[in-house]
Symmetry: C2
DNA sequence: GGTTAATGCTATACTATATAGCATTTGGGA
DNA sequence: TCCCAAATGCTATATAGTATAGCATTAACC
C-alpha cells in the first residue's frame, strides 16, 4: 500500500514518536501532568537550583515557552523559586513535587518498558543509541 | 547531566523526531510544502482516486483535519477532485502535483539518507524495523 | 423501505513550538 | 570605574499539529 513512506526512517520516526507520545500523554494525564512537565521535574530533581534558561537549554525548550510551564508547576505547588541574583532564580522541587515526580517516574518507566517490548528482540538494543545519535549528532 | 532522560528510549524518540521533523520542514519550505503535504502527494500518486477519508486513515490524520489540507493542495493546483459518488470524491495529482511531488521526493530522499548517515553503522539497519514496530504493533 | 453507517465538513480548543521585542541585571573590557 | 554587550525573565503573538463534537447528505445493509 504505502511502501514508499513506510520505508522512510524519518516517516516511521514521526509515526512512532506521535504514537508513543500519545500514550505517555494519556498515562500522565491521570496526574494532570504533561510529558514536558515530567521532564522538567526530573531534571530539577537531579539538578536543584537549575535556572529556567538552563532547563530550557537541556530540554530543547525556548526560554519564552518556559515561563508558563514553570508558573503552572509553581502554582500547583510542585516547584519553588529561589532567587540566585537580581535577575535569575533557581528551581527546586517541593515535597509535593518530589511525590509527584516519583509517581510520574513509575508511570514513565512502565511505559518505557512496554515500548521496548514492542520492538523485536534483535533490534531492541539498537534503538536507544540510534535515536540518541539522531538528535545529538546534529549540525 | 540528564542521565535519566537520555536513557529513556521514549524521550530520545521525541527529541530525535522533532529534530528530524524540523529539518524536513525547513527543507520542504522551499517548495512551500509541509511534511504532511508531501505524505499526501506521494500517497495520492501511488493510489490515484484515494478518498480523503482513506488517505487520513493511512497517514494517521483525522478526517476533519484533512479538509483544509486537501483544499490547500487543490488551490495551488497540485491535486484535483474526482467525484466517486454522491458524497465522496477521489484525489488525483495534476501535472503540477506530479512535478511538485518529484521535487519533494528528491529533497526527502536526500534528508533520509543524511539521517541514516548520522546513525552509527552498527545500529543503522535496526532503526527502521524498530521504529516500524513501535507504531504498527500498537494495542 | 427504514435504519445504520460512512463521508465531507464546520467549529472549536488545546498543545507545542517559534520569533520579536522589552526591561532589568550581570559581567567583562577599555 | 564606567560603559557596553550579553544574559535573563518575560510579554505578546503566530503557526502547525492534533483532537473532539456535531451536522447534513448519501450510501449500504437488513
Amino acid at each position: 500500500m504505502n511502501d514508499f513512506l513506510t520505508n522512510l526512517p524519518g516517516y516511521n520516526l514521526r509515526r512512532a514518536s506521535t504514537a508513543v507520545q500519545t500514550q505517555l500523554t494519556d498515562a500522565l494525564s491521570h496526574l494532570s501532568l504533561r510529558p514536558a512537565d515530567f521532564s522538567m521535574l526530573i531534571t530539577i530533581k537531579n539538578e536543584p537550583r537549575v535556572t529556567p534558561s538552563e532547563l530550557g537549554k537541556q530540554l530543547g525548550i525556548q526560554r519564552a515557552n518556559m515561563v508558563n510551564m514553570v508558573t503552572r508547576l509553581e502554582e500547583r505547588g510542585a516547584v519553588s523559586r529561589i532567587a540566585l541574583d537580581g535577575r535569575s532564580y533557581g528551581l527546586e522541587l517541593t515535597q509535593t513535587g518530589i511525590d509527584l515526580c516519583a509517581q510520574a517516574q513509575e508511570i514513565v518507566e512502565t511505559l518505557e518498558s512496554d515500548l521496548l517490548m514492542r520492538v523485536p528482540p534483535e533490534h531492541r538494543d539498537h534503538l536507544l543509541p540510534a535515536l540518541h545519535a539522531l538528535w545529538m549528532n546534529q549540525n
